[in-house]
């Protein structure tokens, strides 16, 4: 079966590829995946385009005198692996794509307007993540509970201040302070709680493992700007959580 991409106009194909790229970038894909997907979709119509992407903007266009180009800006990035998987699936099916332009845009709009998970959901699961990682570094059941409580309450605080749009650095710093405070309180009331293990597990949801991994994969794909900025983001966030812990310990040791 012939793909419907071949019968669309140049602008429509560019729009579809730009929307796919924007979905990928906002859900936390590596930039080389964004560029690769966009180039692939346009190649389906025989267009040789240049797609340029950094973690905060995408530019797509061709070299012709009367060529079309499009730009988009991405300010808030989250992590949504389901969305990456689905957009990947769409681009995989592009050679036999049965939908028209309007239908494709409707599908992509439906993907992008999917509601974010509720705060309680992320609170509970980051609590479990913190608790289990307290077990990973050798904690017992009390450390599990303290780390669960710390991660849960810090995520609750972040969900509370999210509407005011603070920077992610500030969020992680406050999360570090809250985790230390909760664990210290738990240690005061229940002496079985080891502060070291409970805090080490509790800060795990805030460590930038994803920015780190993506940054290295971007470097490997030859994308130096994105690699450097993601690695910078990772160092920045680690610094944030370290400052948070240090601030609380400094007050505690006064």
């Amino acid at each position: 079966m012939e793909s419907t991409i071949a019968s669309m106009s140049k602008e429509e194909v560019l729009k579809i590829s730009l929307t796919c790229g924007k979905l990928l970038l906002t859900s936390g894909a590596e930039t080389y995946r964004v560029e690769d997907t966009m180039t692939r979709i346009c190649a389906e119509r025989g267009m040789h385009i240049a797609a340029v992407s950094t973690p905060s903007w995408i530019m797509v266009g061709d070299e012709n005198v009367d060529g079309t180009s499009m730009v988009t800006r991405v300010t808030r990035r989250g992590t949504d692996l389901t969305l990456i998987s689905e957009v990947n699936n769409i681009s995989y099916h592009m050679p036999r794509w049965p939908h028209s332009f309007a239908e494709t845009m409707a599908i992509l709009d439906e993907l992008s307007s999917r509601p974010a998970p509720s705060p309680l959901y992320s609170m509970i699961w980051s609590g479990f993540a913190g608790g289990f990682f307290a077990g990973v570094i050798g904690g017992g059941i009390w450390d599990f509970l303290a780390a669960f409580l710390g991660s849960f309450l810090s995520m609750a605080f972040i969900a509370l201040v999210r509407p005011f749009r603070p920077s992610s650095f500030w969020e992680t710093t406050m999360a570090g302070v809250i985790i230390c405070f909760v664990t210290y309180m738990a240690h005061l009331f229940i002496p079985e709680v080891t502060m070291e293990l409970a805090i080490g597990g509790g800060i795990m949801p805030y460590l930038p493992g994803m920015a780190f991994t993506n940054g290295i994969r971007d470097f490997m794909a030859g994308d130096l700007i994105s690699g450097t900025s993601r690695a910078g983001e990772a160092i920045f966030l680690v610094g944030g959580i370290a400052i948070g812990i240090a601030a609380f310990l400094g007050i505690m040791y006064l």
């Binding site: 936390g28 894909a29 590596e30 995946r33 992590t79 949504d80 692996l81 389901t82 969305l83 990456i84 998987s85 990947n88 995989y92 998970p117 959901y121 992320s122 699961w125 980051s126 479990f128 993540a129 289990f132 990682f133 077990g135 990973v136 570094i137 050798g138 070291e196 293990l197 805090i199 080490g200 597990g201 800060i203 795990m204 949801p205 460590l207 493992g209 994803m210 780190f212 991994t213 993506n214 290295i216 994969r217 470097f219 490997m220 794909a221 680690v238 959580i241 370290a242 812990i245 240090a246 310990l249 400094g250 040791y253």
Partner: protein, 159 residues
């Protein structure tokens, strides 16, 4: 015996921790436990080398990351999913969180040299993880390109 039990418990914990991370990152539902398995493989190799065989922390981090990355590349081709679905939650158990706290704790108690020692060793662990990801994703790229080159050669032969 006690050592084996500790290793098994820690690996099981890392499995469920990775699954919880998959939930936070909104991993596709049918890939959740596969991602957990990837995380448990990486952490299992790390902890067996570190406390079972007494290998240095850097080398066991490197070996664990290589195991996890190979596993996620294989799963990605097997289940037709992008690699990050498995590798992003899977690498989390190896990220050094405890040394970071220890370094800050020593520094705040005026033990600057001990704090720096811990911090640098944590940074070296992170570098080892980076080397592991780098190695495997570079090799995966070589494999993909070589398959395409081989296909081209066969195509020309047939002409």
């Amino acid at each position: 015996m006690n050592l084996v039990l500790t290793i098994v418990i820690k690996t099981i914990c890392s499995f469920f921790g990775t699954v919880a991370f998959g939930k936070i990152f909104n991993c596709p539902r049918n890939c959740l436990f596969k991602a957990g398995f990837v995380g448990a493989v990486g952490f299992g190799v790390y902890i067996v080398l570190l406390s079972g065989f007494g290998v240095s922390s850097m080398l066991s981090n490197f070996a664990g990351t290589v195991a996890l990355s190979v596993c996620s590349e294989i799963f990605a081709r097997w289940y037709k999913q992008p690699v990050p679905v498995f590798s992003i939650p899977g690498v989390i158990p190896l990220v050094p969180g405890l040394p970071l706290y220890r370094a800050m704790n020593y520094t705040m108690q005026n033990g600057y040299s001990m704090g720096m020692h811990t911090f640098v060793s944590a940074a070296l662990d992170a570098t080892a993880i980076a080397m592991g990801i780098l190695l495997v994703s570079g090799l995966a790229k070589v494999y993909k390109t070589s398959k395409r080159l081989v296909a081209q050669v066969h195509f020309h032969d047939r002409l």
